[in-house]
Amino acid sequence: MNKNRYLLSVFLTFLALVGLVACGGTQEAGPSTTSTANQGAGTWPLTVTDSKGQVTIPAKPSRIVSLSPTATEQLFAISAGPQVVAVDKQSTFPPQAPKTALDGYQPNVEAIRSYNPDLVVLAYDPNSLTQQLRDAKVPVITLTTPSSLAQAYDQLRLLGQVTGNSSQAELTATAMRTSIEQLTSTVSPPNGKPLRVYVETEAGSSYYTPGVNSYMGDLLRTLHLANIADPAMTAGADANYPSLSSEAIIKANPQLIVLTNPVSAAAVAARPGWSSIEAVRHREHSIITVEADLASRWGPRLVQAAQVIAAAATHLQTAH
């Protein structure tokens, strides 16, 4: 009797724990390589170089599956939207994208193939997905997190070429570049001393931030802002996505804190020891939030993130 009751309680506990499941936010980071196109557009078969190497696309794709939220935004921005048949569940933008249950973090070959794709676009390949798809004669383009803005623009051009939307892709890339470069003039420091900025992507026991070799690091540089993760300011910081200790951030003393994670300015100010940081002392306009989807994706909407950061920096520089 007793034993049965215990076994039942174990089972119920187990069920209750397994049942407590809910959705969380998305976050992207990873290695980066260059992606450049090497052939003229509009003729297939077409051989291009993506983040992983050379890929041959046999014909103009009309059934594209995107497993990367950024790629989804890029495809729709360059007018390749009608060619997209399925996007992964993390692809939250644009709203008209054909969102499915496909999981970009744990891609399943069978599920992807059920959409009968003639092109799959990935940012992340945790197992041998690319090989499995290629074995099945499905071309795969991998576009990993770029390490500069130029690489982000090139990804647009590459997708334009592959999908037969080159001119629209070129327009989108140019618009993105000029919009960001125009912001530069508004944030140029009057006295030549750039504002010290800390961008937070993930907070735990230490803090993850984009390094100098990341598209966000490049964005800060383009905006004439000093990234505190620059090894010149924080010795030993990794160039890609370094993790910084509280103390390293306090030492670097940022003047502007950009939160791209769901953390409130009040919570940041309450972190032990952070009260001595200049941005925390002034707080009013010096701790800002940029929507994670804008900052963690390197598609055309990155311009919106740049605008928010530039506006805050301009405000602080005129106030100083």
Partner: protein
């Protein structure tokens, strides 16, 4: 003297002496028995003073080093009254924040966690008469891991207080489950062997649930793993305040039960003859050790090795056999070791931090082997 089992025989000597010896065990006793009986079972002032000094040194170093180096005398000048220090300059506002809001709670929490894990480890080893018993034996680690996983995937933005609470709740539920499962069919108090088995199955069950949840939330893995690997990056005074009462109660019960633990080592029957209700005492100290472990895990994540290394190193280096004597030494040595390991974890690869579990294993495992070789001649 060549196997771990023999080390165990020597360090758990009382148990050996008390029961009839088989022929093969007699030589082992003759080589080390006299030595072990010769006064090692009382608290020696030298050992105690040495460990206290070590702890103080480690605390001062821990407060002083980091990306912003602050010499110990400046920290001292900051706390002592002006008259005593001859009006030395106080620390700057930034340095005060770094020392008193970041490093001080961190050093204190690391010390408390280390003391708790070492004491819990010593207790489990004594209670289960098993030298490999560690504080995570009864499913505490798996329970805490599951608690944190559930919290991370269900709460949208867990605050600094959510994770320790979830870990503590998970640890508590897991060990309660273990004790419930380990009880005998007649509803009696659990025997050590069945508790161990129950602990193993609860660990397996909860780990499976945790893995399943993590598999469904790959995007949250980083936060879960930073807990699993352990660390004191989230240390703060409120966390130290939350931790302290559990540690005080757990440690108090264990220190008060030291003599009973030594009697338990004689075996259940002998203990009963001496008027000690073996199973009840065992359950009480297991509960106290589990409270210690749960609180430690809540504050520092899953830090391995401390609970095994510290008690054994003390047994081997100082020849302590009695658990009563071992427990206070464990508290001091565990605290010093963990503070030192944490200081290394946050300074070695600065500005990044390495998980403290990596440090305790990297430093602890070879040290432990060295101790074993020197004292046992492997």
């Amino acid at each position: 003297m060549s196997t771990l089992q023999e080390v165990y025989q020597r360090t758990f000597l009382r148990q050996l002496v008390s029961r009839p010896l088989s022929g093969s065990e007699v030589p082992a006793l003759q080589t080390s028995g006299a030595e072990a009986r010769a006064g090692y079972d009382r608290l020696r002032p030298v050992a105690l003073t040495g460990l206290v000094v070590l702890l103080v040194v480690v605390i001062l170093v821990g407060l002083g080093v980091g990306p912003i180096p602050i010499p110990a005398w400046r920290i001292a000048a900051d706390v002592l009254p002006d008259g005593l220090t001859g009006h030395l300059p106080r620390l700057s506002e930034r340095d005060q924040a770094v020392v008193w809001q970041l490093r001080a709670p961190r050093v204190i929490i690391a010390g408390l966690v280390g003391a708790a894990l070492a004491m819990a480890g010593a207790t489990y080893q004594a209670v289960f008469a098993n030298p490999l018993a560690d504080p995570y034996l009864l499913g505490v680690a798996a329970g805490a891991g599951l608690g944190v996983t559930v919290a991370v995937v269900t709460v949208n933005s867990p605050t600094s207080a959510t994770i320790p609470l979830a870990a503590f709740a998970g640890a508590g539920l897991a060990s309660a489950l273990t004790v419930a499962l380990g009880r005998s069919r007649r509803g009696g108090l659990p025997a050590p062997a069945s508790l161990l088995l129950a602990g193993v199955s609860v660990t397996a069950l909860l780990t499976a649930a945790q893995t399943l949840l993590q598999h469904q939330h790959v995007d949250q893995l980083q936060r879960i793993y930073s807990f699993i690997l352990g660390g004191f990056g989230g240390a703060s005074w409120p966390l130290a305040g939350m931790l302290a009462p559990y540690l005080a109660v757990g440690a108090g019960v264990l220190l008060a039960c030291g003599r009973l633990l030594d009697v338990l080592a004689l075996g259940d029957d002998q203990a009963r003859c001496l008027g000690v209700p073996a199973r009840r005492v065992r359950l009480l100290v297991i509960a106290a050790a589990t409270v210690l472990t749960g609180a430690a895990v809540a504050a520092g994540g899953l830090i391995g090795f401390i609970g095994i290394i510290v008690p054994h190193a003390l047994r081997l280096l100082l020849g302590v056999g009695s658990t009563r004597v071992l427990l206070p030494l464990c508290a001091l040595a565990g605290a010093a070791f963990t503070i030192a390991a944490d200081t290394a974890a946050r300074t070695t690869l600065s500005p990044a931090e390495i998980p403290i579990g990596v440090v305790t294993a990297l430093v602890g495992a070879p040290f432990f082997l060295l101790v074993l070789r020197r004292h046992v001649g492997v």
